[in-house]
Symmetry: C7
Subunit: 94 residues, 7 copies
């Protein structure tokens, strides 16, 4: 099964947060800051979205930084994804 | 009786949530997270909605992921449906 | 006396909620969920509303589902009506 | 003295609420629901308002239903009026 | 010194509220309802404001009714003025 | 060092508030109302800002009244400035 | 690794706040006001963003003042950056 995003939506997969603080303490998942880096898994077709032309600029495989409070978490086949609008992607990490 | 959605509205039917957690405990309906997967039952004609041209991209029978807090629950002939705007559908599951 | 709606407004009359739950208990009016089905009583002319062209798609006599929190309740000659914008009508029931 | 409304504004004068409930009890002004019927006293010229073309559709003397929470109450020569935007008028009562 | 309003701004000077209630009690300034009548002291040039063409319709010397919660109070040479956008002026009093 | 504002931004320097109330009491800075008069120090180029054409109407040296809650306070070389959008300037004082 | 901003986004690096108050007391990081001066590290391509044409006006290396509550803090290779929309940059410091 795969996710095919609509319009200007992009499917992201979060990159693993570093599990260890600088002082060497291993943090359990909860106590960590939510990492904002993710990999692009699928990209919508763009086009006219809410009456505005959107051109898709990210590609599958891009590492991106996305806006902390944006997106919808989705679970598919036990994997977690985040679906955001392209405009919530701030930058590509090269 | 059937629902004929107006404008950019789409009628969805939620897919059954898995009733069992990984540890094997059966959850009653309430305690389960609301599943976000649904099947498209009917699709509005699109066209100019709130002054913006909307082209319908989903089709009857598509399995879709929709935005958690979107939509209106509707009961017809004892069946429950959700009516959302197409823009609240995030992705098609293929 | 009759109501002649302006712009994209539609006058609705709520259809009676079923007074009996599945277990056979008769509910007084208060305890019932507000039914969302209504009949279209009058339809505004449409045209340019708030700077946007609106084409009216519902007709007098249509049974419709409308958005739960939308509309203004109006009493005329002891009868209760709801006036909604067409965009708050989600679907026609056929 | 008279009020000459600007743009898409309409001056209304509330019609008297019925002072007696169905059971025959006379209610003091406070306890009554604010009546939503009003008579049109003056109509603005319309034209471009907030960048949108507005055509005035109500006429002086029309009985109208207006949105419960809309409008500004104004007192002139001891008389009370309500000034609303035409878009807050829901329907004409004929 | 004088105020020259920009864009669709209008400088108003409040007209004195009647200091006496109907029962003849003289109210101190605080206890009175803020009067909504004002005289137009200066009128901006209009033109394109926030991307929308605005034509000025009020003139210096007009008595006007303005929206209760609109405007900014300004003190110049010990005199108090209110600066509003023309759209917050509801009607001219003739 | 100097501030070169972008788009429709304007750099203002507040004019000194009168330090003495009418009764002759000298107020410390805190207890005074924030003065709304300021001098224009620098003016952005205008042009298309947020998709809307903005023409700059104020000039360096103008005394202006600006909206009380608008703007961002900025400190540069120990001097305090306020940067506002031109639309938050209500009037020029001549 | 480097950040390549999308659309009208700009990557900033905060300039060091002066660590000493006028009275000579050295403040720890927390107690200091967040400095609003930053250096431009990378500039997005501009173009049509949310349906509006945006022309980029800042350049890499510019010292800028940005809006206090704007932007998203991002950590990359142990360095902290702020990503803002160009419209949240108030002025260039020359």
């Amino acid at each position: 099964m795969k996710l095919v995003p609509l319009g200007d939506r992009v499917v992201l997969k979060q990159l693993e947060a570093e599990e260890t603080t600088k002082s060497g303490i291993v943090l359990p998942g909860q106590a960590q800051e939510k990492p904002q880096q993710a990999e692009v898994i699928a990209v919508g077709p763009g086009g006219v979205v809410e009456g505005k032309e959107v051109k898709m600029e990210v590609k599958v495989g891009n590492k991106v930084i996305y806006s902390k409070y944006a997106g919808t978490e989705v679970k598919l086949d036990g994997e977690e994804y985040i679906i955001v609008k392209q405009n919530d992607i701030l930058a590509i990490v090269e």
